[in-house]
Symmetry: C2
Subunit: 531 residues, 2 copies
């Protein structure tokens, strides 16, 4: 499939600019075919104007039609066939099986939001009926539901070139909410981005969506800031580093009109190993933890970068077992050159920090020419850990730091010192239960998701998933970027008072034509309202 | 009742500072008894530390106990009796009947949140049960609910000394959510604030709440910024001017950890009068609109400051009728000296702006020594209105500007030029319906609440109320400051994966001990889960 390298502005392709770049294959240590052209400022403005115009029409399109559009995107992505998989593998160095799975997840998310639109209850309809005879003043009829906020800017992730990128969760949830999307293409996988952009646009045309419901651009850093600050943009979705996420957040805070910035940034995803589990299942934990740290060359936002345990004989035995297991890890090519050099730098800093001990490393040497990362496991005392706040920072890659505490009190204090996390994980047995309760209490304040006896990698896409958490794991702990609740990032309530029934949106009409559950006079019900 | 003028730090009173101020009665043009002492920095830090400590305990207290606490606050406020009413009337110049009604609303809000806590469904429990046999990977058991964010700073309003102040909607919803509250006392009604603070603390002690669940301080502007920027504070509620609201918003944006700032600021609450209603009900509309503009000397955030109509004979006849009605308005004392001087300044600017015509004014002269505002109604062409964006700014007080449009297209364009609003109001008859639809479409994008055939003043406190809207009416259009949904400002989701049933919070346990509606495997149900 020919790579054109153009911007996708509504239904047109456009490449009027002179600045270009190429995609790079880290595993092949070579540039890939295709010249990608940065958008000019005129192209940028045209795109934003189209999104604004599209919003006026797109928000009026029925939920059913939007659902068909989302499903069509999934179909068109599948229709790209092996060309998508091949390009994505070349650009990301992720294996075929992983990318194939990620494509399935991406299409699954689109279909999940289509299903949510068909069910319709997500608009959170609330109705308080009139009481004309109430004293001292009559009560009005008041009805409330959620509506889309307007055009959304999406900044995709390097580590999920499909599921958190061009047609990923942010795009799917924004389109489901009724918001046009402008995607800033990730320079780490522009060819993948181009193929997916084409699929979305084909789906939009096929299902007769308004032009501008989706556009995508290659943008400079400066233009990225301009996008976040543009008056037409009403929300921002971002997945990436803390540094860039906070740049976008700060840029948005400078706007006249504040808008929400949903930045999913950095998390070390602490794992807490309780005494009982270390005594009874050291081999199992050592093996599973090694696998979780190394999954996808450690390039997950939920990668377990910190492990906590209280010193004991069982802990010493576990560390030995873990060291053995971990030494069999193998180096792997990272997503791109920047990520690889950041990893190497972070690993070197840790290796040369007083108090940090190397517990295990891969026996095989990482191949620099393939931008490989060498898995590393360290230990540190909780005293040294707390004294040097740099140690709590995320090192993105297959690296974990085991923090050894003297006793329960030190464990609690050390956990209290942590910043906010996407996840925290507990491993314990029944005998740990009393000791576990204060730990749960502390990490509930620190994390968005707590996993009992499992691993944080592998995020289920469902209604009850919360993939978010206190800062710096995200910029807004109230919202998730995974699961159906992700749609709430791109909506706001509208309240309609004393409206004639026929002028109300269907979700709020008396006879409940959508057959959705609603809060009517304080009761959740699907019943119709006499009127 | 003796006014002590101290800060309320947990269960202690404290006035170590040397800077003091007095309350002023605008209607009496005199200072009121009591010296109020600004907090020292030590007192400030002690208060914040107490709030942090209280959070650890308060969040664990059962919903039922929190409900009893909220109800006890309402009881203690009522127990203040006439002393509260008298002081509040003296400080605000609002009439006894209004303050008595506002006290009822304040207590009603507290009881409403108590009821919400007893019902329990507001935690938005979502459960996806495990599928251990799912291929290719087993599905975990995942459960999600809302939990409190932490200590909240509340900045009350001048124009609702009870319902939007010390024990107002922000405090009630934050306490209901499980968050300790620190109130920054409003200098316009410090005596009222002191009495209500005492009532809250009495209720907290009587119901054995942790010390620090509520504190209140007299703060300098600099300390107010410090409060918003303090690491312990996790959210801010504010009601007041756009200028101050945005100062707090910008201060929060400078924090390392972003937190939500819910600032309810400025709104001109456009009223759109369609041809049919002007033809058939000119007298009724003229009378009602006059009353709405003058209600509470125009000092409501929902005061109708802009009116839109298309020029016609009916419009001319209406303007004449409105002018007659409005001329019978009488001046009234404003809430405080600053508000009065701002009103006079804003009114003078409008009076001297080219293209603005005075349509009506009160025949009686405003008494400067009683800080009265003189009601004013102006007209302007939509052309002149759009050309001068200053004209769209809120002038807080009994003033309205009627914008006359040449035709429907000009009406639409003018409405499109407006900033975000708390409310918009439509007056129309059946014959207007075709012309009304594009108007509804435009104002849905501009406002948080749309009133059909009524007036924006008078905000019902209920489940479906949305008192919020696009910027600058608020800093966060996703949230309301009135009604049960106000609780969502102070919570975030927590997700628990594969937890043993007995370690789950009650809201998420299999047997549904709270008997709340939950989203279980995609179905909203109160059913128990087999487990």
């Amino acid at each position: 499939m020919l790579i054109e390298g153009t911007n996708y502005i509504g239904y047109s392709t456009s490449a009027r600019g002179s600045e270009k770049f190429q995609a790079f294959s880290p595993s092949g240590n070579s540039f890939l075919p295709g010249d990608f052209t940065y958008a000019t400022n005129e192209e940028f403005e045209l795109t934003v104007a189209l999104a604004e115009k599209a919003f006026a029409n797109y928000k009026e399109i029925s939920a059913k039609e939007k659902a068909i559009f989302l499903e069509a995107i999934a179909e068109e992505i599948m229709a790209l066939g092996d060309a998508l998989i091949e390009r994505c593998v070349a650009e990301s160095a992720l294996p075929v099986a992983r990318i194939t799975g990620e494509r399935g997840r991406t299409c699954g998310q689109l279909k999940m939001f289509a299903q949510l639109l068909r069910e319709g209850w997500w608009v959170d309809a609330r109705i308080d009926t009139a009481q004309p005879d109430r004293q001292p003043v009559p009560k009005s009829d008041i009805r409330r539901m959620l509506i889309p906020v307007g055009p959304v800017a999406v900044f995709g992730a390097s580590n999920f070139p499909l599921a958190f990128s061009t047609a990923g969760g942010d795009t799917a949830s924004a389109l489901a909410a009724g918001c046009p999307v402008i995607v800033k293409a990730h320079p780490s996988h522009p060819g993948t981005h181009e193929l997916v952009s084409k699929a979305i646009i084909k789906a939009a045309q096929r299902t007769e969506m308004p032009e501008g419901v989706f556009s995508s651009l290659y943008l400079s850093n400066e233009q990225s800031i301009q996008l976040v600050q543009h008056t037409v943009i009403k929300a921002v979705g971002f997945t990436g580093s803390r540094h860039v996420g906070m740049l976008l957040y700060k840029a948005a805070a400078e706007r006249t009109e504040p808008i929400p910035v949903y930045a999913e940034m950095s998390s070390t995803n602490p794992i807490i190993l309780m005494e009982g589990v270390l005594k009874t299942q050291p081999e199992k934990i050592a093996k599973e933890l090694t696998a979780s740290v190394n999954l996808g060359v450690g390039q997950f936002c939920t990668n377990p970068g910190l492990v906590f345990a209280i010193e004991s004989d069982a802990t010493s035995a576990f560390l030995k077992e873990f060291s053995n297991q971990f030494s069999s890890s193998t180096p792997g090519t990272m997503l791109n050159r920047n990520i690889c050099s950041s990893y190497t730098k972070g690993a070197n800093i840790l290796s040369n920090t007083d108090g940090i001990n190397i517990l295990a490393k891969a026996s095989k040497t990482a191949a620099g020419e393939r931008y490989e990362a060498s898995p590393l496991a360290f230990t540190v005392s909780s005293k040294d850990f707390v004294a040097n706040e740099q140690l709590a920072n995320e090192v993105f890659g297959p690296l974990t730091l085991i923090v050894l505490c003297k006793n329960a009190e030190e464990l609690h204090r050390t956990l209290l010192s942590l910043e906010g996390q996407l996840t925290a994980t507990l491993h314990s047995t029944a005998e740990d239960e009393q000791a576990l309760k204060p730990v749960i209490d502390i990490i509930t304040q620190k994390a968005g998701r707590i996993i009992f006896g499992g691993y944080p990698t592998g995020v289920e896409v469902c209604h009850s998933m919360h993939h978010g958490g206190p800062f710096p794991s995200t910029s807004d702990a109230r919202y998730t970027s995974v699961g159906t609740a992700a749609i709430y990032r791109f909506v706001r309530p509208i309240c309609l008072q004393d409206f004639p029934n026929h002028l109300l949106p269907e979700a709020l009409q008396n006879h409940n034509p959508l057959n959705i559950i609603r809060l009517v006079d304080g009761q959740w019900t699907k019943e119709v309202i006499a009127g």
